[in-house]
Amino acid sequence: MSITWNDNAPIYRQLRDRVVAMILDGVLKQGDALPSVRQVAGDFQLNPITVSKAYQELVDEQLVEKRRGLGMYVSDGARDALMRSERERFLTEEWPMLYARLKRMNLDLQTLLEKADAAGSKS
């Protein structure tokens, strides 16, 4: 697999975000093993220190746990915890800006819901 990294954030951070997205999407479920540092380093052509750093972030956030001698596993409740923090982040950071924009454009709830339903029935 080939991956392009953007140059605005450290790569370990982007790797961490990638694992988080996989947990949120349910691709990685609780109790699933993460590939070894070596494996990820080889696959993505990253130095092992970068990969370890990304994993350490996930451990610090308690999304992943280290099992001695076995490797890294997605913690129980990781997805729920992520959902909570992602919702919280959306409500405090993104929603106020989005809300201000909707107000500026005079879009009411009715119109938005109709559009969303139309889009939903198409997909």
Partner: protein, 286 residues
């Protein structure tokens, strides 16, 4: 600094009147993957040869606690080397090479080597002259990966290989060879392909080390900013090390300027190693 694998002080080397290495200091720690990068003729291969005890030099050098000039035999048991020139005789078969290395190197594992070769398309009875360039590099790699060495030195290991072989080469190294007890020093011109593999970067120019930093230090030190023309003068006053133009806007590369201050000029980006290289080496051939 007890973990130092290579330390050099005042390393110098002349070929006649040409200075190949000019008072170079090196300090390479265990568990690192160090990229030694420089234009052709900058002194990369000479530096590697000095580390391996393959060339005479002036100055102090300590590799794995040994002086490469005095203890070459002991040193050779702990280091491994892929040269940019293929050195295998063309008549030898894969099998014979494996036997030979098994016979001369005490830390060589025949099983490991054969296991790696089994993953390639090479047959043990094939002669080196029947192998493609990519396969010859795979053979070299199989040999060195089967040697339990503390230091692996790679001089342009992927020169002339297609991208599939190049990727596979580094993938094998990272998957099956490298760990925190090992150290790799690598030179390459395909720097953009391995910049994320490296933990440390050394730039060499005209025999001098002009940059010696960890990759983390590099992202702290260097930043690229695309600046609107009205702020060009402000940017230039901060003494950028490089300036280039894209779509009528200037992109400045700064070394050691506070990132918060630069953010006022425009959006910050982390420069690629290739950008840094161009900026550092400008005027080399002029």
């Amino acid at each position: 600094m007890s973990d130092a694998i290579v330390t050099a002080r005042g390393l110098s080397k002349r070929y006649g009147t040409t200075v190949a290495l000019d008072n170079v200091d090196l300090n390479i720690q265990a568990g690192r993957i160090v990229g030694l990068v420089g234009p052709n003729g900058a002194g990369k291969t000479t530096a590697l040869k000095a580390i391996l005890g393959l060339a005479e030099f002036d100055g102090e050098m300590n590799v794995l606690g040994l002086d490469p000039r005095k203890h070459r035999n002991e040193l050779m048991q702990q280091v491994c080397f892929i040269a940019d020139v293929a050195v295998l005789p063309r008549w030898i078969t894969v099998e014979e090479v494996v036997d030979f290395v098994g016979g001369v190197h005490p830390r060589f594992s025949r099983e490991k080597c054969l296991a790696f070769l089994a993953k390639t398309k090479m047959k043990n009875t094939q002669r080196v002259r029947e192998l493609s360039k990519g396969m010859i590099v795979q053979l070299h790699l199989a040999l060195v990966m089967a040697i339990d060495a503390k230091l692996l030195v790679l001089d342009e290991p992927t020169l002339g290989l297609d991208i599939l072989y190049r990727k596979e080469f580094y993938q094998s190294l990272l998957n099956d060879y490298f760990d925190e007890q090992k150290t790799i020093i690598v030179t390459t011109h395909q720097i953009e392909e391995i910049e994320h593999i490296l933990t440390d970067l050394l730039f060499i120019r005209d025999g001098k080390i002009v940059l010696d930093a960890t990759m983390d230090q590099i992202s702290d030190r260097f930043a690229e900013v695309m600046v609107n023309p009205d702020k060009n003068e402000v940017a230039r006053a901060l003494k950028p090390i490089y300036e280039r133009q894209i779509f009528g806007k200037s992109i400045f590369l700064f070394d050691g300027i506070d990132h918060a201050r630069l953010a006022e000029l425009g959006e910050l980006h982390k420069p690629s190693v290739a950008d840094l290289f161009v900026a550092t080496m400008k005027g080399t051939y002029a």
